[in-house]
Symmetry: none
Subunit: 421 residues, 2 copies
Amino acid sequence: MTVELISVGTEILLGNIVNTNAAYLAEKCAGLGLSCYFQSVVGDNEERLTMVLQSAVERSDVVILSGGLGPTEDDLTKEVAAKVCGRSLCMDDKSKERIAEFFASRDIEPTENNWKQAQIPEGAIVLDNDNGTAPGVIIEDERAKVILLPGPPNELMPMFEDKVVPYLERLAPGVIVSQTVKICGVGESKAETVVKDLIDEQTNPTIATYAKTGEVHIRVTASAEGHKEARKLIKPVVKELKNRFGNDIYSTEEDTTLEKAVVDLLLANDLTFACAESCTGGLLAARLINVPGVSDVFKAGFVTYSNKAKRKSLGVKKSTLQKHGAVSKETAAEMTKGTAFVTKADVTVSVTGIAGPDGGTPDKPVGLVYIGCNVKGDVTVKKYQFNGNRAKVREAAVAAALSLMRGCVLEYFSKVTFGKK
Amino acid sequence: MTVELISVGTEILLGNIVNTNAAYLAEKCAGLGLSCYFQSVVGDNEERLTMVLQSAVERSDVVILSGGLGPTEDDLTKEVAAKVCGRSLCMDDKSKERIAEFFASRDIEPTENNWKQAQIPEGAIVLDNDNGTAPGVIIEDERAKVILLPGPPNELMPMFEDKVVPYLERLAPGVIVSQTVKICGVGESKAETVVKDLIDEQTNPTIATYAKTGEVHIRVTASAEGHKEARKLIKPVVKELKNRFGNDIYSTEEDTTLEKAVVDLLLANDLTFACAESCTGGLLAARLINVPGVSDVFKAGFVTYSNKAKRKSLGVKKSTLQKHGAVSKETAAEMTKGTAFVTKADVTVSVTGIAGPDGGTPDKPVGLVYIGCNVKGDVTVKKYQFNGNRAKVREAAVAAALSLMRGCVLEYFSKVTFGKK
């Protein structure tokens, strides 16, 4: 079964934003066993959108459009899709009610154009939007299933996950099952080298690697008659990957992020956590706090961007800062020890580095980051050199901090197990 | 003059990589005054690539293809382009020589298929590649100029900049200039209503609204013979938008984010800042710290997710937490006052709320957030009700905190100016 993606939006045509929705949808569709042969981007223009959608419904089984479902006059994806599929638009009472509730809960008066979002092509399936006002739509045209999703990623992603995936799974003959082996602390080219022979040999299941910041995901995808048969094909491959990557695999579960794996590890070992951040400035705490239930382990976080805050909140010595600088192994060590002293947390992590664009020197260039981790008195400090702009360096540092913390906790317990503690 | 982008590559179709080349080329082309109405992605497949390229040369003046110029059999962009334009491929001696030099300088023996890269469509313009082996190509077909660029960004970008830009500048008459008016604290539909008459009336410049989390951007785009003329068309429209939105506009600069505007406001008024976060868990600090130079204003941040941390780090009273709960007006007020007391910062912000998915009650549902702001002793606390999942509630709370903080600082100084302080 083939799928085609159409992104609607002037911002993409003008290059104001990168088309991350298309990458997300393409990856998800590949995981579902759909073959994506075409992706297009077109603006909010009736004639051109009609032209693109017309060819898409002729040549693909499923067409997914994203964007252009807003309340403004510019937004005409739904109108064009209805026309191409020969349907009229009717007011959907349930959607209207949901939109009214959305505004009432925020104590805002909806304007007249908000009701445009409640209009649905005749006979279409409505996909409720739990994160915004624009409902999604599936039009079951005889040529293709035409699926309309809102453009904002935080509306599109949960809607696709919760409502479109089950729909597509019912359409496909036989099943496609994927399992993702998630690895941290190993670079993409190294991971690729390790699995190259498997990628070359395998046809069912297929094996593909995806690089994420500080992580590599290896997706194993099998097609079979039933779920049971597909899982049987996947199992030995995942086992082989576990042999090759060992402890670097943090999860084989779809929903488990690196931060969730770390929180689960802390919970399982009854450990509390605290952190002190300089260049990452709260990002590490924020990523961990995105895990529901983190309150059982998270004691406190400190954003100590200035030297004064490092001294005052964490007790880093003035002499250490003067002698070695704020970005040094010594400061990172004192930060993590200070955090443990102040919070009494079992595991503490510190991050200090030069995120740029300024502040770099030949000795300490932009991208240099020290990360300290303390597990019940065992202190490790690692030096990293990241590439990219300020945001990229900070993101990479957060991923490295999570990997390091995970590694240190695992090592601590392996020592305990082997009687070294 | 219109331009169309075709990205050739299976990695993009599978969602393995995000199509950053298209964003780069689109932005560059917009800056050159070319109108981009279509972008496509297609794999290394002769039939499908032919189909896409055929429509492109029929409907656009310039077609830029990227990717598929490699040495392997899979790579067939040049072969397809030559065929669509009715040209044969001939060996280009200069390109062959450059490829030989490229390998010699790296002490590598070229393989037979490397010479495929030196084959150029008859009569085409060759674009030397200073960073790789695949030369770029311009075929001046009578329907469209067809430009072929290598896929790797570090080859594509300098080739486009150095060789394609001068070529396109000679072709294009006139320029396109945009300016963005950035608004915070106003919903998209409301903003749209305020400018509806302008959107309807204007054709040059055009006016379009873009919704961001907690913000609306209004883009004013003019086409004219020169930059000066374009700016002259934009100026009165931006002035009118300033009249209508007043203080809700935080910037009209392309590079200025809301967090940068807030940091600039603090810097301009010589104010220091600190924050205490519960549900946002470091995200507010992280967003502010993404602004280079923030160290001059940022004193400290506290992630006080637990009640204990709120008491210990900020001195929130046990009785307040017991009587009103952690998510309350009273706790938000004590958090922001406590942060000011501990850090001596001029401006402090506190965020406490229920991000979900658990923890909501009928009285205090998921999405309820209190934000406190203290400007030199003037304390404001506002109640918000956000919708969406955990990540969306937290993101919306951060945007609201930045807006509130900006509003409180502006109000404080307007009172000072009017002699009320």
